[in-house]
Amino acid sequence: MNSEDERFEIGDDLSGNLTVPSKSSRGPIKSSNFDTLDEPIRDTIMRDLNAVISKFRHVLNPKQKNNMLKEWDLWGPLLLCTTMATILQTSYQEDKNADSGGPEFAEVFLIVWFGAGIVTLNSKLLGGQISFFQSVCVLGYCLTPLALSLICCKIILILFTQTGFFFFLRIVISMLGFLWATYASVMFMGDSQPPKRKALVIYPMFLFYFVISWLVASHTN
């Protein structure tokens, strides 16, 4: 965690930062003449993986505010989005009807990325002080609670025969995920707006997560 803190100090302003940290600030490798060209692939992968995992942790515990904004990446959102789209998509093997009603993989994928893009564009247009990809990164990582609730719902769907009680339980689980996701994204992004327009920026995020949680709640086998 010591190395993480050092790296977060590099970009002091809120602008995005894709540079690999310089040798002096790279903590886990002890030897000073170690270069990213020579390091084992394992270290390279683990460093990025640790950054992604630490972001997931931040979303699940959204108390420390700005750490996530400074170094954005889109690995987490991509992972979450593909996972959710894979689970949510209509499975044609089980159901031969032409229109069984569920969304396709591409539709979920588009809703997530276009939705995040439009919400971000909206906050930029209202005068928000945040870069485009930072915002997409935060919105994408904040899908974590919803992805977790989708997995819970899927397990319930597989294990139990569906009754009214389990339907109700699935709705409650996805609502919890929705509230958590909205709370986390407001915690991370709320301060980047002029105070008079805060509600105008929060509302689209609310709508974005609400639509996705609707997809989660109404997903059936």
Partner: protein, 275 residues
């Protein structure tokens, strides 16, 4: 403002705003911005989103309650600072509310004791978005072009007078129409209650409330046209048909639910009949 030809989309008006009301334009992003902005800069589009929470709430309420807005509302408020925030998010919200509560209505009316498994229909989103987006873009364009075609403005009238005749810009009409759909958002949640009489009552109430706001606000401009009576009837009936269409297509389930249930076993029956 005297020549009507070059205020297509009202861009000219925006230049005026930037000069006459600099305090309302966002200055944080670029303090030294020139009034002429390129179409490819984000600052150019920020002028359409130059609005605060209070204004949005005010405009949404004005769109639902008749007589709350003054007759010169369009000219003094919307024309001065038309925003696209409200129309965009009102229509987006309406699309998803209709799709979600249409599914809910279907779920409530579904016979849960039957073998047929209930599926939600994600594709209601596409149908809802197509018709709502068409309505909010085509109707303003039609009204604007009819007014352009039929109203002959005299150049000698003083354009600064509040009562002076004028044609609303296309952008302010889109703004007005976008907000006018706000009343259907709570209504579409209430439409899930499967009582036919209540559903029709909601259609009438909602169409009357926001339709009368539309006509009341547009009246000063409509009166100038020689087709004013057709325009008024057209606006009111289009608004009513939209509401009735929403209700019948997305919420009036009994007939469609019955057809779905009938459709499923039909292949088996036909196989039995032939075999």
């Amino acid at each position: 403002m005297s020549s009507a030809a070059d205020d297509l989309l009202g861009f000219k008006d925006f230049d005026d705003i930037a000069v006459s009301q600099p305090k309302k334009v966002i200055q944080d992003e670029s303090p030294s911005s020139s009034p002429k902005l390129s179409m490819f800069q984000i600052e150019y589009y920020q002028q359409f989103f130059n609005i605060d929470t209070n204004d949005v709430v005010e405009r949404v309420i004005n769109s639902m309650i008749p007589k709350r807005a003054s007759a010169s509302y369009l000219k003094t408020k919307l024309e001065v600072n038309p925003d696209l925030y409200g129309p965009f998010w009102v229509t987006t919200t309406l699309i998803f509310t209709i799709a979600i509560s249409g599914n809910l209505a279907n779920f409530f009316q579904h016979d849960h004791s039957s073998k047929f498994h209930w599926h939600y229909n994600f594709h209601l989103v596409s149908y809802a978005s197509t018709c709502i987006i068409l309505y909010t873009s085509l109707m303003p364009f039609l009204i604007w072009s009819v007014l352009k075609y039929s109203v002959d403005l005299n150049d000698d009238t003083n354009p600064d007078l509040e009562s002076a005749p004028y044609i609303p810009s296309l952008l302010s009409l889109i703004c007005l129409y976008g907000y006018s759909l706000a009343v259907y958002i709570p209504v579409s949640v209430l439409w899930t209650i499967p009582l036919l009489i209540l559903q029709w009552l909601l259609v009438l109430t909602a169409a009357f409330l926001s339709g009368s706001v539309l006509i009341n606000v547009l009246m000063p401009s409509l009166k100038l046209s020689k087709y004013s009576i057709f325009l008024i009837v057209g606006i009111a009936s289009a608004h009513f048909v939209l509401a009735a269409g929403f209700m019948l297509y997305f919420f009036h389930v009994p007939s469609t639910a019955a057809s779905v249930v009938v459709n499923i076993p039909s292949p088996i029956i036909s196989v039995n009949a032939t075999g």
